[in-house]
């Protein structure tokens, strides 16, 4: 049985009177990719922020590789990689310098051969790593963000809308590397709006609404249109 890397136990978060996450129970094992699907405000990003320790749970617990995040966020983060919707880089530094800086913060030294191999897998343009990150397209920034997470050799990677706004080619590159990464044993938790990309990459898909996990689906058992129908049904219920 694969080890659990990410676990939510009755995880709940309130912001004032707003229930952002309601009693979430979730486990992501090594090599598994779970996509959280839902509209804005469904609780996807809140879930990721709770695993990162950027916000404290109102009740329940988020655990990373067995460590309760609220008790020791720094230890939990050491086991995590993180890719934001808009990967933030230092525009005055080159891609290589950005990568090296974040590796140093994680207490690691950059192995140039490994770095180049990861960049090649991501189809990062040749020579671009030595250019100032301020000149990068969104796709390049997302790729470099994933490269930073991969260089960390994290046990789990959290991705918050990583494919949003990417051109199809760049999105394909990222999905391809995400699959390889999961195959290598890393647990992935991805928040996304994109049903079809979720089906491409996920081993399980959770549909969220109003902070609740409504349904957990095995995408292999469904066609893309069936998955879309289920998702839209949940969204329509919301509208009704």
């Amino acid at each position: 049985m694969p080890a659990t890397r990410l676990e939510a136990r009755a995880l709940t978060k309130r912001f004032g009177g707003n229930l952002a996450l309601d009693n979430l129970d979730l486990a992501v094992g090594e090599g598994e990719t779970v996509c959280l699907l839902g509209a804005n405000g469904a609780g996807k990003t809140t879930t990721i922020n709770l695993f990162l320790g950027f916000t404290e749970p109102t009740s329940g617990a988020a655990l990373v590789d067995g460590t309760e995040v609220a008790r020791d966020p720094a230890a939990a983060r050491r086991s995590l990689g993180y890719v934001a919707e808009m990967v933030a880089l230092y525009p005055a530094l080159t891609g290589a310098e950005n990568l090296e800086f974040f590796a140093q913060l994680a207490g690691q030294k950059v192995d140039t051969a490994e770095r180049d191999a990861i960049l090649a897998r991501l189809r990062f343009p040749d020579g671009a790593i030595e250019r100032a990150a301020g000149s990068y397209s969104k796709g390049m920034r997302q790729k470099l963000g994933l490269a930073i997470a991969l260089m960390k050799h994290a046990k789990a990677i959290l991705l918050d809308e990583p494919l949003s706004g990417l051109d199809p080619a760049a999105a394909n590159d990222l999905v391809s590397v995400l699959r390889e990464t999961a195959a290598g044993g890393t647990a992935l938790l991805i928040s996304t709006h994109d049903i079809f990309r979720a089906k491409d990459v996920a081993t399980r898909i959770g549909i969220m609404r109003h902070g609740k996990l409504l349904e957990m689906i095995d995408p292999a058992a469904l066609s893309a249109s069936e998955l879309e129908a289920i998702y839209l049904t949940h969204m329509t219920e919301r509208a009704a």
């Binding site: 916000t55 933030a88 005055a92 974040f102 140093q104």
Partner: protein, 469 residues
């Protein structure tokens, strides 16, 4: 590389590539270089003038030939306060207070160019100097650099990535403090090093005082760094942080010292120059003069003392005794009025110290001037020493007339060897202990500010820890 080292190296690279920061840093360094040059030239020029004037003064004094000692006392000599290397670093009140006193019979003169009029001379001069660059410009530069230290990381999203790396918020804050601290140390260190080299040419200095001067500035700049990074930690954006820091700079660096001086003027008003000297003239006129209103009483007293019934029978010069008595009466008047004036200066300093509750700058300014030898207590020490020397010199000349001029009246002429026996004035600067005794309160206040800034930074850091991002 440690996390702190990584953050310092990254921030340094970013700053180096930010033309705005580089241009601003170069402007500050250029201003500092100009300040060092002008201060060095000013002190060197003053010292050259002082040496030349002393030489001429001594030559003229010793070659005045045989003449009445009292005429020589009116002929007079100069007392100069030497400017040391401290004056290159911080001119303090030197430009306002004057560094030369004309020592003559009957009169305690003010230091030349000291305006005891409508301006308080205990104000830090604000003169273009290394001290001014470090006190005024450097905090502004630190504010510009530190404003974005944390806030820019937050607004562009890199703060989340940094914290997600697992480095820990504490390590991140330490890294940011080190980062701004290193940049400050490099900039301020460059200014101070060049300043020290330039100042060394101005003459010897007490190395312990200079070391303490450096420590005082290190503490002040540390306060600014801690406070600025703390503001950046709390701000939502670098623009907001810069706005807050610019406001604090205006308040603490520009407004508080000036407002403090204005309040001190109101709380302990100093008489105008005209009023001061008019009061002295009136007080002297009210005294019985041994030459006019009090002559008879004084003559009777002297004759009784020497056991004679006629002044012509005195074995000493009555004229010389009259002069000495006139000095004694005048000195008491001067002691009272200058004592009151100096007490007002002390009171103004005490009032201005309340400004330290609002800004660490007044405490630093007091420490800086004191350790550079250019503050008001040392100016007063110079004037007191010059006055003591004047009185000693006049008494020496009067004594010669008293002892050797019996019966000759003011026709008595002293031998020209007497002039060489009169010593030149030599200023004895206060010892380190005396200097520290005058500014220990400022040192404690600066330490209190340092402790407060550290607590503020720690609390701000805890907010970041609590926020997570």
């Amino acid at each position: 590389m440690s996390i702190t080292g990584a953050i310092v190296a990254k921030d340094w690279t970013e700053l180096r590539r930010d033309r705005r920061v580089v241009i601003m840093a170069l402007m500050v360094l250029a201003l500092a270089a100009t300040a060092i040059l002008t201060s060095t030239v000013r002190v060197a020029s003053y010292e050259a003038d002082r040496a030349a004037t002393l030489e001429v003064d001594r030559g003229t004094w010793e070659n005045q030939g045989a003449r009445n000692p009292h005429a020589a006392a009116h002929f007079a000599k100069w007392a100069f306060k030497p400017l040391t290397m401290g004056a290159v670093l911080d001119p303090g009140i030197a430009s306002y207070s004057g560094s030369a006193v004309w020592m003559e019979a009957h009169n305690q003169n003010p230091a030349v160019a000291r305006p005891i009029d409508d301006q308080t001379i205990i104000l830090p001069s604000g003169e273009f100097s290394i001290a001014w660059v470090l006190q005024v410009l450097m905090p502004l530069l630190i504010a510009v650099i530190a404003a974005g230290a944390v806030a820019r990381e937050r607004e562009r999203g890199t703060l989340k990535l940094i914290l997600a790396s697992g480095s820990g918020a504490g390590a991140f804050v330490r890294g940011k403090l080190a980062s701004v601290g290193v940049v400050t140390a490099v900039l301020a260190g460059s200014v101070i090093m060049v300043g020290m080299v330039a100042a060394a040419s101005a003459g010897p200095a007490n190395p312990l005082m200079l070391a303490l001067w450096l420590i005082a500035y290190a503490a002040f700049l540390a306060i600014i760094v801690l406070g600025a990074v703390a503001v950046s930690l709390r701000a939502r954006s670098s623009g907001q942080a810069l706005l807050v820091l610019a406001g604090l700079w205006l308040f603490a660096v520009v407004l508080v010292p000036r407002a403090g001086a204005a309040v001190a003027e109101i709380a302990a008003p100093v008489p105008s120059s005209e009023q001061f000297w008019a009061d002295i003239a009136a007080a002297k006129a009210a005294q019985p003069s041994p030459f006019s209103t009090g002559r008879e009483a004084f003559a009777a007293e002297v004759m009784a003392q020497y056991g004679v019934t006629r002044l012509e029978d005195l074995p000493v010069s009555f004229g010389g005794l009259q002069l000495e008595e006139d000095e004694r009466i005048g000195n008491a008047v001067y002691d009272e009025h200058f004592g009151a004036l100096f007490a007002l200066y002390d009171r103004q300093r005490a009032v201005m110290r309340w400004g330290n509750l609002l800004s660490p700058l007044p405490a630093l300014q007091n420490l800086s001037m004191a350790l550079a030898g250019t503050d008001m207590p040392q100016q007063i020490a110079f004037q007191r020493q010059a006055e003591t020397h004047r009185r000693s010199m006049v008494t020496q000349l009067n004594s010669d007339m008293i002892e050797h001029g019996a019966g000759a009246g003011f026709d008595y002429q002293a031998h020209e060897d007497l002039w060489a026996e009169v010593e030149d004035f030599a200023f004895a600067p206060p010892s380190l202990g005396e200097v520290l005794a005058s500014v220990w309160a400022d040192a404690l206040i600066l330490l209190a500010w340092l402790a407060g800034a550290t607590v503020f930074a720690l609390r701000s850091s805890r907010r970041l820890l609590a926020e997570g991002a």
